[in-house]
Symmetry: C2
Subunit: 438 residues, 2 copies
Amino acid sequence: VSAVRAPEPGAPVRIGLLGCGTVGQAVVRTLIDGARTIERASGHRLEVGPVLVRDAARERPGIDPALLTTDPARVLDDPAVAIVVEVMGGVEPTLGYLRRALARGASVVTANKQLLSRHGPELLRAAEEAGAELRFEASACAAIPVIKVLRESLLAAEIRALIGIVNGTTNYILTEMAREGTSYAEALARAQELGYAEADPTEDVGGADAAAKMAILASIAFHSRVLIDDVPYEGIDHLQAEDLAHAEALGFVVKLVGVARLLNGSVSVRVYPALVPRGHRLAAIGGPDNAVLLESRATRQIMLVGPGAGGDETASAVLADILSVLGTHQGSFLHNALADAGRPIAPPGSVPSAFYLRTSVADRPGVLARVAQIFADEGLSILSVVQSGYGDEASLVLILHEGIEDSMQRAVARIRALDDVRDDPVMLRVLGSGEGGE
Amino acid sequence: VSAVRAPEPGAPVRIGLLGCGTVGQAVVRTLIDGARTIERASGHRLEVGPVLVRDAARERPGIDPALLTTDPARVLDDPAVAIVVEVMGGVEPTLGYLRRALARGASVVTANKQLLSRHGPELLRAAEEAGAELRFEASACAAIPVIKVLRESLLAAEIRALIGIVNGTTNYILTEMAREGTSYAEALARAQELGYAEADPTEDVGGADAAAKMAILASIAFHSRVLIDDVPYEGIDHLQAEDLAHAEALGFVVKLVGVARLLNGSVSVRVYPALVPRGHRLAAIGGPDNAVLLESRATRQIMLVGPGAGGDETASAVLADILSVLGTHQGSFLHNALADAGRPIAPPGSVPSAFYLRTSVADRPGVLARVAQIFADEGLSILSVVQSGYGDEASLVLILHEGIEDSMQRAVARIRALDDVRDDPVMLRVLGSGEGGE
């Protein structure tokens, strides 16, 4: 059962936090915002705090100062704290803290890739011995639930390869270098301006961040111990614009990739800037996005794509881990949600979208004016018109801005009834670039 | 806790099957192949059978004929059968069968989208009342664990939109039509030849299959009751090559999309062929692939991509559902896997990849011959060479076929030592199009 030492059904659960920086504050906010859903799904009310900070006097927006403490014992040793969320980072004293919490049976949720890629097996053993859980979805590609997918959905799938773009900073820099032909230094400066790169970008651009994440992902994918020292890595800081240009001329894009593979029963995990063929799935992953490709016989290639880590993404992963530790009454939750029907169904005629319309018209003066008038009457606005052909073969293709389904249906019926219209008009909807677009 | 009525730790678990067609046989094979991993992860040995078939005399490769039965009671009513896997399809008599199994407390794993999109809420209630589990990862985009991600990882994420290419047959047909400029009829015939479309393709090309999947996914994403009757759908069977050509000229590709959104607190779910802007993430999803885009505030846009359903993909999803029902000792499993180190780490020098090399050379006779000889000595084979510039500014760019890291490192060291070589050579690795490529 997933919840090793789940609290009594219905009991409130106290969450202690280690660290309250950008990520910690996002976690606290997310726990508060998501509390009702968590309670419905898990049966447990969450109580947030204490929160270990360096300076308890400094204000954190939306967080009760009484929750803040500078004494680690209040989070680590209090039996009332059932789950310890670690977002302070670093290897020491963090390792000692987590050992201490696990030893008394508290479950731990951590976002700390450096710690896990060095001491993951030891922390798992500590959790196992204490009958506690150790969860770490946020430690690699936080916005993408790849660890859950590997640990659960694909546990028996025999993964053969895991290839990833797991560092958003370097992917942003490489995308900019390729798009603008700028130098590495310029692209890095721009990434720093936009907050995609830190003031000291060494961890990211040197490849260590990606190596830590790949060590964690490869451990889970291959059920094998892979530590960061097992992962040779190179960064992008020595890449020259010239090589990106050559790569492009040869049909490649350059990406910092993590490549984990089974090779004759051994595990190989490496991180390096690679030439990726333009038709490859990973070639299209641009900007600060992350992507992980998973190969197994049964599922062939699955790819998970999402934004690189930020506070909200990390908080979302931490929340999912907390739910995993608590366990969810999945059936009851869904049953209850679906029993009371939840939200109503929107009347199909009221749904907005953009439209495409093609119709054959007689090439006579005034046809376009009549069509345009119908759209104007129905409150629909034309984005573009292409007229082609002559005489009775003339074809009119229009793209319309977003409008309401019913209005478009009425407009199509009126256009169909025009004398100048030869065939049944073809109407298709247009997906907005904002609807899942970039 | 996820396992509502988990069998006693260590007890064997009997799995009964309803149906033994292509998918059913893949499930049986997968259960047998994955048995050891399942036992390590869940603590339960799986026992497979009985299997309900129409004709028990017909042979199924690799399946003991003694497991086959034509009597539904042997699967549905035997208390020894803890989990019923339904891969027979159809609404009747399947609905009655599943009600009967759930009523006695057996958990049910089903791949049946038509049934779930009509009777999902009722089956969830039956499971809830009996303290059993109902799992259905295989019912929508089987190869992609999107239902688990929605039910667990993103349960509290407040999904705003779910946009999907959820039917591989139509995506294959549309990709072919756009690529080859072929008619719908030709592309359909080709899809049928390749096994991507059934002899009677109505469900797929008419949009009903996608509508059923979208109803299921939207229910889980929005925690709201969405049945197939709530999903207006259109197919691709009336699409004309002309419209695809116009769409392309205007910067779009045409895809059959499912669009589920929250609109002022209501749920809107529709399926239609849409013009998708070329820069949109879904525009790049080609061939028989499926993809689902999930939008929420916390995770922004996540996209999951994978092959459309086949026997192995469905079996993999069924296996994951069985593991969810059994519950896994996640911590113990990982701890044990990592404690005995699992597979060894491959020596980095032994890892194969293809290579890129750029070096500045003096433009003198024989330079390329000397470089080529070094690669030949090291057993590395040249795929392409580009020489550009003149005199001491000449630059040599080579792509090498896959070779061993150590050989390449030796070759680079020898090239660096050549008199004709001006700068330090730049060596990058090249990702094979087979490594996660299409």
